[in-house]
């Protein structure tokens, strides 16, 4: 059973870059672990720390100004490698939502399989979030998964977002695909018999 996701209201961390790939989210040399834990420490490793391992003061995660459970990023977030470690790193750091105008497919699936909700908003709505957070780092967003809405509380504007009913049900109830598949094993055996 995973953590259930219903409504999250939080300040957010802005990352207004496009095409943030999974090698930036978690570089390959940190993929050597055999467990799911600890990847949050190396989230955005090469942007967050310099070569000597000291925090880079210009990077948003090292600035006290921006905190929260929601990461907001430019379009095509999570492109590249299928490494689920990227979702583990973001969730492990403490984020519960990633907002962008466009996500790479595999990253989106991996996120939802780890209780991390990818929220797709329009480019205009995204630009407004960046503007609101720049004007006031305390500005909050509310993500209501059952209602499939996201609200920029600084402007009062709300947008609805898409998520398929099956995945939403899993996230809201803290279930995963394996629970479902194991309950349907008989169908798999019937299918296999049918193709012989």
């Amino acid at each position: 059973m995973k953590e259930k996701f219903t409504i999250v209201t939080s300040t957010c961390v802005p990352l207004p870059l496009e095409n943030v790939d999974t090698d930036q989210i978690i570089p390959a040399r940190f993929l050597k672990a055999t467990t799911r834990e600890g990847f949050g420490d190396n989230l955005f490793r090469d942007w967050r720390y310099d070569k000597a391992g000291n925090p880079n003061p210009d990077f948003v995660l090292n600035q006290n100004t921006y905190k929260g459970e929601i990461l907001v990023a430019g379009k095509n977030f999570g492109s590249g490698s299928s490494r689920e470690h990227a979702a583990w790193a973001i969730a492990g750091y403490g984020f519960r939502v990633v907002v962008s105008s466009f996500f790479a497919d595999i990253f989106k699936n991996n996120s939802m399989n780890n209780g991390l909700v990818p929220v797709v908003v329009s480019p205009e709505f995204l630009a407004e979030i960046f503007a609101s957070v720049e004007a006031d780092p305390k500005a909050t967003l509310t993500v209501n998964l059952p209602a499939q809405t996201i609200t920029n509380n600084a402007t009062g504007k709300t947008e609805s977002f898409d998520i398929n009913a099956y995945k939403k049900d899993c996230l809201v109830n803290g279930l995963d695909d394996i629970d479902y598949l194991l309950a349907n094993k008989e169908k798999i055996e019937t299918f296999e018999r049918g193709r012989r």
Binding site: K32, K51, A104
Partner: protein, 465 residues
């Protein structure tokens, strides 16, 4: 009703459809490597389960292994633990395992096709985005996350949404000196890195039909770099000739029966795609990338696009990218000095890539100040390099061959390009730090790599041919 190639295979693998359209999707073959599988096996154990169909699963380490002295124990204890964990998992659950030094070890996406484990009409998954490679043989093949690896281990199924379909046609005839990698980099440069997200792509057209099997593997391999769920090419005589008599290919009567099925795997003439794109082979030159994603590519004789040509929301990223590469918008790339050359990876680590590289360096000498890593995609490729005497050509020109693995493509092992150095690489990604922290990657095909290896700079291979 007329169907696309994708739909024909997809429909044969639907176990169940949920009310919201989510599909319980059956997987014929699962490949596991050491990096994205340990947590899946741990999950399986935690639930007290065993692999549901062990005979449909093949495991081999490739990502995190050294490319020198594989006969000795792996030095890095963390890497060693990851490889040992895969071996233990395979042994504990009686799964096929091709470990280090095994004659069938290599990069999964090289080994699958060359052993005949990959066959038309199959569905294939692996915890690796370049699983799209196998689509070249007329399969539905795509990368998955570790949770989905666990699902496949446990039930041989995953939960999927049906992607949209796209056909990319390349018509016409290709120019001399242009490789399959150039086709792919050209397509991605036009599509951008997110341009095919949500789609499953079929490649078609005269120029695609006229490719070899290995060239098709290169093209489908790079489908993920434009965001596509996967890429595929309808199997034809090229595919069947390649597959026949491979170790795991069916034989005798079984071959004839399968062949009849495979001959039905094509998009019906009036089948419709959600999106159609057409390119012309005559427009494609040897390609290079100049930025930090594979969509930032251009013909080798072109100049890096001006800042004004980039849309406003993307300019911060564009500037960051060029700053990282040490390039200036508007300048040409020909003649730039480079430091490293990497020939290998699931994209360009096959025998034809080594033949192409060797054909260009034959009778020439490696440039003195360039470090060159030549890494075969598998031991089978390595054996063939020796059998054909290509190793001799390479040695005479001052090169040495390493041992198979993913190597400098993602630099998980020791094969890292130092910060600030330029690498001409036949791999698939030029992301920041991909080939080592601070490394600057220029993606290209095997001929451009060969030209760089003998001149020490970005050189149009056609000038040396």
């Amino acid at each position: 009703m007329s169907k696309t190639l994708f739909e024909k295979i997809w429909e044969k693998h639907v176990v169940d459809t949920l009310p919201d359209g989510t599909i319980q999707f059956y997987i014929d073959r699962l490949f596991c490597h050491e990096v994205t599988s340990p947590q899946a096996f741990a999950g399986l154990r935690a639930r007290g389960l065993k692999p549901f169909r062990p005979e449909q699963i093949t495991c081999m380490p490739d990502h995190n292994i050294p490319t020198l002295h594989q006969e000795k124990p792996i030095e890095d204890p963390v890497s060693k633990n990851q490889v040992d964990t895969l071996e233990k998992n395979a042994k504990d659950f009686s799964l096929t395992y091709y470990g280090l030094q095994h004659p069938k070890n290599g990069i999964i996406h090289v080994v699958g096709p060359e052993t005949g484990l990959t066959q038309p009409g199959m569905t294939i998954v692996c915890g690796d985005s370049h699983t799209s490679t196998h689509g070249a043989m007329g399969t539905i093949a795509f990368g998955i996350g570790t949770s989905e690896v666990e699902m496949t281990l446990a039930t041989q199924c995953i939960m999927q949404r049906k992607p949209k379909t796209m056909r990319i046609t390349i018509d016409g005839k290709r120019k001399p000196g242009v490789t399959a990698k150039d086709f792919a980099l050209y397509i991605i440069s036009k599509m951008t890195t997110g341009g095919a997200t949500g789609y499953f792509v079929e490649y078609a057209g005269e120029a695609i039909r006229n490719t070899t099997m290995e060239e098709r593997l290169t093209i489908c391999n790079l489908s993920i770099e434009m965001g596509a769920r996967g890429g595929m090419i309808a199997p034809d005589q090229v595919t069947f000739d390649y597959l026949k008599d491979r170790e795991f290919a069916p034989r005798g009567e079984a071959w004839e029966k399968k062949l009849a099925e495979w001959r039905e795997l094509y998009s019906d003439p009036d089948a419709s795609f959600d999106k159609e794109i057409v390119f012309h082979a005559e427009d494609i030159d040897p390609m290079v990338t100049y930025g930090t994603n594979p969509g930032m590519g251009m013909g080798i004789r072109e100049s890096i696009p001006a800042m004004e040509s980039v849309d406003e929301a993307g300019r911060i990223s564009y500037k960051k990218s060029l700053d990282y590469m040490g390039f200036t918008a508007g300048e040409p790339i020909m003649g730039k000095k480079i430091d490293y050359v990497f020939l290998g990876s699931c994209t360009n680590g096959r025998i034809e890539d080594f033949r192409a590289f060797a054909s260009l360096v034959k009778g020439k000498k490696k440039a003195d100040d360039v470090i060159v890593w030549l890494v075969p995609g598998s031991w089978q490729v390595e054996r063939q390099i020796r059998a054909e005497g290509i190793d001799k050509v390479l040695t005479d020109a001052g090169f040495e061959l390493r041992q198979p693995g993913c190597s400098a493509c993602l630099a998980m092992n020791e094969d890292k390009v130092p910060a600030g150095k330029y690498a001409v690489s036949t791999s698939n990604r030029n992301f920041e730090g991909r080939q080592g922290p601070g490394a600057r990657t220029i993606l290209a095909g095997p001929l451009v790599a060969a030209a760089a290896a003998v001149t020490g700079k970005i050189t149009d291979p056609r000038d040396l041919m």
